[in-house]
């Protein structure tokens, strides 16, 4: 028997609330299958199992808060020669008291009898399918005496999430405090531990704009592209030549990453931001990357990201878009070792070939970790980004 545990969805996560079970006891699951959805400050996240198996017992009920590493379910492994192990073993054996706290059941998952009642699972499933109110939100609303009908929903399919309830309760503040706290923790750690260095350069976007105008004039709305996708692809391609900016600082040393998964900083409507990863950003053709980018932004804003998207980013790109600000000085998101910032594209005088003309310009900045690289390598990287953006058709 193996245990399916609450995975860590980032260094800043301590636990999450189980929202929905996608499986029931007796179900056969494949490696990579989504078995549950959990709610964190970053939204509702689908979590997968990383082994073939048969689900035996569901240990946590929807609505229960489970710490990272806490048991969610048991399953029988079907992997050949499998050693019984946790699907996502982050903490080998957490103290039972810290495993689960639920307002409904006993304080510990270990003490709780196996949840075998199919009716309860069925009811949870039906509720999830209607996607009206997450169980966690319903309970919290009851605790806070909030009328659910008056709460504005931000979840997928118009679902009221836990955050919506919290927000309604703290109607004076626009940002959910959980998200703000998470950002503060990550950024404080970055400022404390990472010796940043900063570089900036101005890039002529005339060729990139012309390429996009031509493309968008000749393609239907479903195939159109935004400037952002060119920037993401150029960063990813430039990283192929400067691998010391792509990876993680862990346990006192740099772990370069073979995969280039650019994290995209996405502003959320209710305040705060998330930076989920676009996996293998450097390998995807532009048009396909654009559709994934669009999908990622949509799901991030709906609070519906996948686990891997929250954990796999090897660098982050933050782009202020058309807000009119010229330069961004980003802070590295630990354990990453670099972050790239882009200001808005602004019409400015540009000197080239002995003349001055008005050109759409963008300021690209790099904040990088001095424990891993230095200014020279950083400048090689930014110069490569600039060069790639002069030939957008080759991206």
């Amino acid at each position: 028997m193996a245990e399916f545990r609450m995975p860590s969805l980032g260094a800043d996560m301590e636990g999450a609330t189980l929202t929905t079970w996608m499986v029931r006891p007796g179900d056969t699951v494949k490696h990579g299958a989504v078995v549950a959805a959990v709610e964190t400050a970053k939204g509702i996240i689908d979590i997968e199992i990383f082994e073939d198996g048969v689900i035996e017992t569901l240990l946590a009920e929807p609505g229960a808060y489970v710490a990272v590493g806490g048991s969610l379910a048991t399953y029988r492994s079907l992997s050949p020669g499998a050693v019984p192990q946790a699907a996502t073993a982050v903490i080998a054996e957490p103290a039972p008291a810290a495993t689960a706290k639920s307002a409904l059941g006993p304080s510990s998952a270990a003490e709780r009898p196996p949840m075998a009642a199919p009716a309860a699972v069925e009811a949870a499933r039906a509720a999830a399918e209607r996607r009206l109110v997450s169980p966690a939100a319903r309970r919290r609303a009851a605790e806070l005496k909030i009328d659910l009908a008056a709460v504005r929903a931000s979840g997928t399919g118009g679902a009221v999430t836990l955050q919506d309830v919290e927000r309604a309760a703290a109607s004076a503040t626009s940002a959910p405090p959980d998200m703000r706290t998470l950002i503060a923790q990550s950024m404080s750690r970055a400022k404390r531990e990472i010796p940043h260095y900063y570089l900036a350069t101005t890039i002529d976007m005339t060729a990139a704009r012309r390429f996009l105008d031509t493309w968008n004039a000749s393609h239907g709305v479903a195939e159109r592209m935004l400037d952002g996708v060119l920037l993401l692809k150029a960063v990813a391609r430039a990283l192929e030549k400067t691998p010391e900016l792509n990876g993680f600082w862990r346990d006192g040393r740099f772990e370069p990453s073979a995969a280039i998964n650019v994290g995209v900083a996405i502003r959320l409507r209710q305040g705060g931001l998330v930076a989920p990863a676009l996996q293998d950003t450097n390998r995807e053709p532009l048009a396909a990357l654009m559709r994934r980018f669009q999908d990622l932004v949509g799901r991030a804003r709906a609070g519906r990201l996948h686990r891997a998207e929250l954990t796999d980013a090897t660098i982050t790109v933050s782009s202020l878009g058309e807000g009119g600000v010229e330069t961004l000085y980003p802070i590295i998101y630990p354990p990453q070792v670099a972050i790239v910032g882009f200001g808005g594209i602004l019409l400015r005088p540009w000197c080239a070939d002995g003349t001055i003309r008005a050109a759409p310009l963008i300021t690209a900045t790099l904040s990088a970790d001095h424990r891993v690289s230095d200014g020279h390598r950083g400048s090689v990287f930014l110069a490569e980004v600039a060069r790639l953006l002069q030939r957008p058709e080759e991206l």
Binding site: A153, R224, L226
Partner: protein, 93 residues
């Protein structure tokens, strides 16, 4: 190509808007004011909005015309003209 006009068309535009930004308060929407100023729309929101309009109304708005879709009034005006033009050119479209 849509046959919607006037209030029905306006309602369809609001539906598309709510699909992109479910947190928008439709009752408080100022029809003459740009979405960008009211809801902090970014370029991705606009692209999704135009995509949603296309799905609902069958009108594929060229990128050069995006500025004309800046507000609710602008949308209704532009889409009505586009639908009328399309209906004249090809009634079975």
């Amino acid at each position: 190509m849509t046959e919607l006009r006037g209030d029905a068309l306006r309602a369809a535009v609001v539906d598309a808007l709510l699909e992109i930004a479910p947190d928008v308060d439709a009752a408080a929407l100022d029809p003459a004011r740009a979405f960008r100023d009211q809801f902090d729309f970014d370029s991705m929101d606009y692209l999704n909005f135009v995509t949603a309009l296309h799905a609902r109304l069958g009108i594929d708005v060229p990128e050069v015309d995006y500025p004309r879709l800046a507000s609710l009034d602008g949308c209704v005006q532009y889409l009505e003209a586009a639908a009328t033009r399309g209906a004249k050119n090809g009634p079975l479209d």
